[in-house]
Subunit: 339 residues, 3 copies
């Protein structure tokens, strides 16, 4: 576990009501990067997320974080991620200060990120930060006395997305149980689409490299996985191969993780039109897939998976979103000392 | 009752904590159109709304929907309606995920309405939807497992507005009591202003057509009630007549329902200026009205009713707004199985 | 105490659940101007704010305003003030209807401020109003049955900022204690920067004029404190002097209150560049200051205080923000009859 501890000499939080566990390992920590999570950390997070899922299934909401305030600070819009964190906090009985309009607020009058962070921690117990610049979350965590959770920092990281993706793989394939732990070794995960610019697949690949998995990287030539990620995979001893089509690969996949292929990435429309159909998943595509394969997508989708696929039991993307709420509930409870 | 039931084979909701009444008739239903409401449905809604009014008057708020989450999804701005639903949910102890900035979020990156709905139902227990396109609410209700409440879909419907209008008429005139039910027969309702484009008056006319009322339709020639609505009134056996001035009509009216006459509807300013004064209600106008007449307006007003009228006890428009909160509290409790 | 009482003949509130203190002096009052606050009123507010600080330090949040709804109506963006009021309400167990997008809502379709206020008071128990026009808060208070709290009305007032500034001065210098009351007499307060356009320093100067303080007014020649404020200071018997540099003044100051000097205020850039360095506080500046001096700033800052100063124990601006939350908690509890 790499710790993002609050600056020396400043207390984590002045508020430590009865029941907060100052000795809990994640108490007061910031969540900035997937690199903070060892295998045993992942088991811990998933254990708590699993419990959250059980509790929500049974009673919907509960008062674990009653009285706690979350500042949801979004420098760029993301309805999905913002709503997911709001729901997570509210299902735990906490409340949210939503700050979505940063583009026209005092913040955009030129206030620095550290000043905004130190302002909000004067009011709230925890800050979720979405920012267009890589490194913003780490910078925020450096100055903050309260925990920061990175909800995406530009081309940098989006750790909660990677965690919910991994949790979904584990839950869908029966590879996680509180009693047995996390058993992902031996899986074959195929990533499809834009592997060059998608921070989602980068972070997920990093998390997966802690396990003995095989990765198939299927993308157009100009949208291949970056070399530095492949180097990391090599160092971690992950078996990976590249391809430009799903054929011959899909039948061996336990997971098919689809991402968007954006027209704007291509130099000319002809090239785009030439490749795009190879990256659209339809009921026909799935005929070549295993019955128990898991089909995922970080959403929004714009045509990469046809609507007819939604009825297929392998389509896990809506359950994936719901899992996002459980994972975020777990992280909030952990950094606020209640897990 | 026309049911907007969740799609076959999918559960209404996974969350059914102790106390939810799965057998309640509106549990899990979507509210899409005033056409769903029979006379006995209306009595049921008004019974619950009446109870909400009593409870708010006595204790302000209570925890009937504690732990429930409402996603308030507004594709176009409407401070009044959005605030009313937020207040309704919060007075019932529930919480709200406000999504107002749809125009610049992932949604506007091209995500379809069904995908957005299925995302939000992964987080929330109910979705209130305001959308500029007619039919959007019905489309949302078709794909959703959780209840959708239509908060206005373009030139389509705005059922909660029509319900609160009818509830206000009943309450102001003493035509509803829990013990006696709803007795609107015999009333004369006069609608004034733009009757052509106002979905509010269309929906209200439809609701009123279930009762033996007389309708006066007073509008400029180019802003008359559409033929298809008048056909519906005929089929329902409603007595109606058209006029272009209030004179000779006002004295017989139990209700005067005023709507905005927008300058933009007229081809030239001269025509507009020629008619507009006939559609402004002042203290002088009211001299010709009954003492117990009810003066209503869906708001915002921009000059159609002068401020001096606000002091008149017949001016019911602010009570009308407050009733909106009670009716929405009732609907939320009903579809979430707590009424 | 100058009362902003609700209009004659209309009840303050229909909702008076068990525990509301209708006899409490501020119950149902609007907070529009610092002129409402006598010395004993200030002691009362600070007593409640002090208690809020103690409670938050001990338990974070509590349910004093559970079930109460605040409408946070912002006609212009102010992340800091809006978040502070939201946090204040939520830490008291109440809920918030945030209305930030007024610029594109029905309100901007031409609805008048009184209509918007009367709409929101149909839903909420209290309204916080930020508006670009001077006098807006007083106008709102005139029509409202529920309490209005002025969160800044253009070049008019920002009373909660002035109250939190004074509270911070008192707390930092040990000049307030519940047992002994408020003892600010004899202090020397230096205001630095733009004293002409800053409503913050105007309101604070007014509040301070109730005490036997000395004021130093340090500004560029074109940004001096307006004559009408200096007249008020004279009438109140306050000793004040003007200067264009901190030298010879700083060493005698108990408080240094810094405000922003905006480039746009100057006719040409050369003049601006010539003076601006005299209005930037650095560690060097503070070498000439007393050890127990209090350094304040209403924020946002854009260079007026260098980041290295943040570590200086005299830098009180982040504690000042936190105090803002306690003062707003106090005011909310007071006007809602719970203090």
């Amino acid at each position: 576990m790499t710790h993002y501890r609050p600056p020396e000499g400043r207390p984590v939080s002045k508020h430590l009501p009865f029941g907060d566990r100052r000795d809990a390992p994640w108490y007061g920590q910031s969540i900035v990067s997937v690199r903070q999570f060892t295998r045993s950390d992942l088991e811990y997070v998933f254990g708590v997320a699993h419990e959250m899922r059980e509790m929500v299934g049974r009673i919907g909401s509960f008062d674990l974080l009653k009285g706690k305030l979350l500042a949801n600070l979004f420098y760029e819009p993301s309805t999905r991620t913002a709503s997911s964190f709001m729901a997570a906090m509210q299902r735990l009985g906490g409340t949210v200060i939503p700050i979505n309009e940063v583009h026209y607020s005092s913040v955009s009058k030129g206030e620095s990120l550290p000043d905004t962070i130190r302002t909000l921690e004067a009011y709230a117990d925890c800050i979720v930060l979405r920012h267009p610049q890589m490194g913003a979350a780490a910078e925020a965590a450096r100055v903050a006395r309260k925990p920061i959770i990175n909800a995406g920092d530009g081309v940098g990281e989006h750790p909660t997305q990677a965690l919910l993706d991994l949790f979904t793989i584990a839950m869908e394939l029966g590879r996680y149980a509180p009693s047995r732990g996390l058993a992902l070794d031996g899986l074959t995960v195929t990533m499809l689409g834009d592997l060059r610019y998608g921070r989602t697949v980068h972070s997920l690949a990093r998390l997966l490299s802690q396990f003995g998995v095989t990765l198939n990287l299927v993308s157009p030539a100009i949208l291949k996985m970056p070399e530095h990620i492949k180097d990391e995979l090599d160092k971690a001893g992950v078996t990976w191969r590249e391809a430009d089509s799903l054929e011959a690969i899909l039948g061996q996949s336990d997971v098919l993780y689809v991402t968007r292929v954006q027209k704007e990435r291509f130099e000319d429309e002809a090239t785009y039109l030439g490749v795009k159909d190879a990256y659209v998943v339809t009921p026909e595509t799935l005929r070549g897939a295993r019955d128990e394969m898991v089909l995922m997508h970080p959403f929004p989708r714009v045509g990469e998976i046809s609507y007819e696929v939604d009825k297929d039991p392998r389509a896990a993307y809506f359950r994936q979103m719901e899992n996002g709420m459980y994972v975020r509930m777990a992280l909030l409870a952990m950094v606020l000392g209640k897990a």
